[in-house]
Amino acid sequence: METLKDYIYTMESCNSCGQCRFILGPKSKGREFVEICPIYSRYLYESYSGQGLINTAQELLEGTLGYGDELIKHIYTCTTCGACDINCKSVRDMEVLDTILALRAKCVEDGQGPMPEQRKYAEYVEKQHNIFGEDHDQRFGWLPEDTNLSEGADMVYFVGCSTAYLYPDIARNTVKIMHAGGINFKVMDAEEYCCGAPLWRTGQLAEARKLAEHNLETFTKQNVKTLVVSCAECYGTFKGFYPRIAELDFEVLHITEVIQRLLREGKLKLNKVLEMKATYHDPCLLGRLSELYIPWEGEIKAFGYHDPPKKFRRGTNGVYEAPREILKAIPGLELVEMIRNAENSFCCGGGGGVPTAFPDFSLWVASERLKEAEATGADVIVSCCPFCESSLSNAIDKSKSSLRYRDLTELVVRAI
């Protein structure tokens, strides 16, 4: 797997152009909601940005900057939402987010990171295979007894820690939808371990790799050809992290993609009217960061020529249309867009281990997102990730917003 030194080209190539901090120019609608980086928006200094973090990484590597508590906090405040990365890649061939993730991995390797609160992920995972330290035997406690599972199916529903333990309704609704669509699937029961997202994104790579290896081995043993997830973090991890461990020989689908297929094939009908004005929040790891990672080894030659050519993940082909197509298919539902949408979606504050280590900042980010959602005139904010649900619902509660949060699977079940 790449280390920080593999991103020297990115660090040395940065011209401080500012693109990592703002949405794509033509997609702006005015003065408001144009900043894209949560830490830049909150802490104002340029050092708090994709550019700032790669500058920090470079100085750490070169030895002109030393570790300290404040530096570690600085590095771990980032939600790793990747908005900097995608906006940089709209104009450059640089790997801003991978540099930030490698920087965190270096912090861990040097015994400086992650934040103490984030170390618990690894401890809990070691004992219970989930990031909350909950009883592993209860991972599928949400599953109704009468669920019709097909043991011989090559499609698996991978539930994920956050859905299983905190938002089991998402799991139940996912199962209902798959049943309604006539899909044969199974679950992994005790063999399902955390996907590794929080460990990967806080730089705890050895532990993340162990989880990935376990899950990959299980997929092979169980002859899994299609993996369905209802969590954006799981989705982005399977597509963005697992290919760094081994080549994927199975398809990864988010439940929104499954529903989209069912609707297009006429296997699912959404008939019931849901009168609401909804805005859709694109989760980072389902949207801009959901493209398949393709390993690259080679040389960056003069004038930035990559030999052999490298396939960059620029966020162009994220899962943007599926959730929107579904929402538009629900009778009575009016979909209104926030300015920062799709690849330019503003983070909910729920990623990168930030809610655990910096809950106040996480809440601030989510509150900023709510302001944008409120500006659309919507009464419901919809997404399809338990981490987003946690952040946005928390912000709704704290700010006493009139907005309601709904997971997309809930709306689909209600509309069937």
Partner: protein, 504 residues
């Protein structure tokens, strides 16, 4: 060089503890060695985030009292670099659009308002402003007070001519309000009553944060003949914008030689048609309209652009009505036919039709940096259209040497000439790319600038831009009528303590 604690505390009392910082991990972003710079900048002593003109004024007075040099930065992507021990006033918190006056057609803004913010605000009101080729994330105010050439100046003018009322914190901390603003008469005019100071404040190229701090500015607005909102389809970086074809059309014509390009440019100006007319950089075009560096190389090595765009003219027609467009197209076609031009390959033109934001907000300008980040412009001067083309013809005299030595990309025609005000004058810019991974290549920027200036002097051409900074001015001043003597007098008068970005 750190800021003495007692001074840090004084400034902290002005801006609040969250808005000044001198910690090493905060300073990293302000001392990064950009691949476009020949040398690594020294670390600033501290970063200050003032929130108002009064705070700026107070900080500047403190700097004068304690002999602390200061400069401003907003977008970072600039040409002003701090000297050792300098404090940087990052204007980030001063980011309000104070007024958009649709009747008198001006916008009043603070320093940290970006093009990505102001452009859509004015478009939605049916207005527009000349947008410097810097990219949407850059400060509008910074572009208007420094340099600021742009792709649509044929139908408008250089941005400096659009400056109206100005609020200026002088290097000593006094506040000067220019023009009508100084008489409490509003923001509509930067000149008079009385002599105008706009030239001193701005001149041709600005002072690189060396003559105080502009805290508010009014810029003139023009009519926008396009939709109130850009119709963007698709996702980054493959998005497209299709403007109504019955009123918007983009053409690129190739000609047998540079003289014909010039003649067409002059005739189009004489006819007063066209929103944008330019002889654009052909290699830069290839960099901007390809996704990756590898894509660029594939295109460049195909030779298509060298064949089609070495002597080409880009024309963007933006009209109120189909009838107006029809008229302009007929006039244009007559001119092109008469001078002997023909359309370039359709695939090239189509790129502009899919992404006309190149003209409107130069959305993806930063792709210019894609070849590893090593690039530099030179010349950047202005004079008559004819003169600029004479200058262009002299480029091979010094430029080929650098190409033959392999120090820069082989792109001898990578210069642009953009007329302004329908041809009253024009601007030239020669842009080159170098491989910054070879350390000594970073020095090529200074070498090319020097050779370029020597060539201008030899021919009596007026094409180079006076450099920022006392050292550079003294070095090159004698080449331009000793302008540095006057510049020095102005600097000494306005900045007696020499604290406003003394520059290296």
């Amino acid at each position: 060089m750190s800021l003495p604690r007692c001074i840090y505390k004084i400034i902290e009392n002005i801006v609040g503890p969250d808005n000044i910082n001198d910690k090493e991990h905060i300073l990293t972003a302000y001392r990064h060695w950009s691949p476009q710079s020949p040398q690594k900048p020294p670390s600033p002593a501290a970063i200050i985030l003032p929130g108002s003109t009064q705070e700026v004024q107070s900080i500047v007075r403190i700097c004068n009292r304690y002999n602390i040099s200061y400069m401003t930065q907003t977008s970072l992507f600039g040409m002003g670099f701090p000297g050792p021990g300098t404090v940087i006033l990052n204007m980030r918190r001063m980011n309000k659009i104070l007024e958009i006056n649709e009747t008198d057609r001006y916008a009043v803004i603070e320093p940290a308002v970006r093009h990505v913010q102001l452009k859509p605000e004015v478009l939605k009101r049916g207005l527009n402003y000349p947008t410097a080729s810097v990219g949407p994330s850059c400060s509008v105010l910074a572009n208007f007070v420094a340099s600021g050439d742009h792709h649509t100046q044929h139908g408008s003018s250089r941005v400096s001519r659009y400056i109206q009322g100005v609020e200026w914190v002088l290097p000593t901390g006094e506040i000067l309000r220019l023009g009508s603003l100084g008489n409490d008469a509003g923001w509509f005019c930067a000149d008079g009553p009385g002599p105008s100071l706009r030239g001193l404040m701005r001149g041709w190229n600005g002072w690189g944060a060396g003559l105080g701090i502009i805290t508010k500015i009014a810029i003139g607005l023009d009519a926008w003949k396009g939709p109130r909102e850009l119709p963007v389809e698709g996702h980054s970086p493959s998005y497209k914008i299709h403007l109504p074809r019955d009123c918007h059309r983009i053409h690129i014509f190739k000609f047998p030689d540079l003289d014909k390009v010039r003649d067409a440019m002059l005739e189009i100006g004489k006819a007063e048609i066209g929103f944008a007319v330019l002889k654009f950089f052909y290699a830069t075009e290839a960099v901007m309209y390809t996704e990756s560096a590898n894509d660029f190389w594939e295109l460049w090595n195909s030779g298509l652009y060298q064949k089609e765009l070495s002597y080409a003219l880009w024309v963007y027609l933006a009209c109120w009505s189909p009838e107006e467009l029809e008229y302009e197209e007929r006039v244009l076609q007559d001119i092109v036919d008469e001078i002997g031009g023909e359309p370039v390959q359709e695939s090239i033109r189509k790129k502009y039709e899919d992404n006309p934001d190149f003209f409107i907000m130069v959305s993806f300008l930063q792709r210019t940096l894609k070849l590893g980040g090593g690039w530099s412009p030179t010349k950047l001067g202005g004079d008559s259209v004819r003169h600029m083309f004479e200058v262009a013809k002299s480029i091979p005299e010094f430029f080929y040497d650098f190409i033959e030595r392999g120090e820069i990309l082989n792109a001898p025609h990578n210069f642009q000439i953009i007329p302004m005000e329908y041809g009253h004058m024009a601007h030239i810019e020669l842009l080159f790319f170098y491989d910054r991974t070879i350390p000594e290549r970073r020095q090529v920027t200074a070498a090319i600038s020097l050779k370029s200036m020597e060539t201008d002097i030899k021919h009596g051409y007026h094409a180079a831009t006076p450099a920022h900074g006392k050292t550079m001015m003294e070095k090159f001043g004698p080449l331009w009528s000793n302008f540095h003597v006057w510049a020095g007098k102005i600097k000494d008068t306005f900045d007696p303590n020499g604290v406003s970005n003394p520059a290296p």
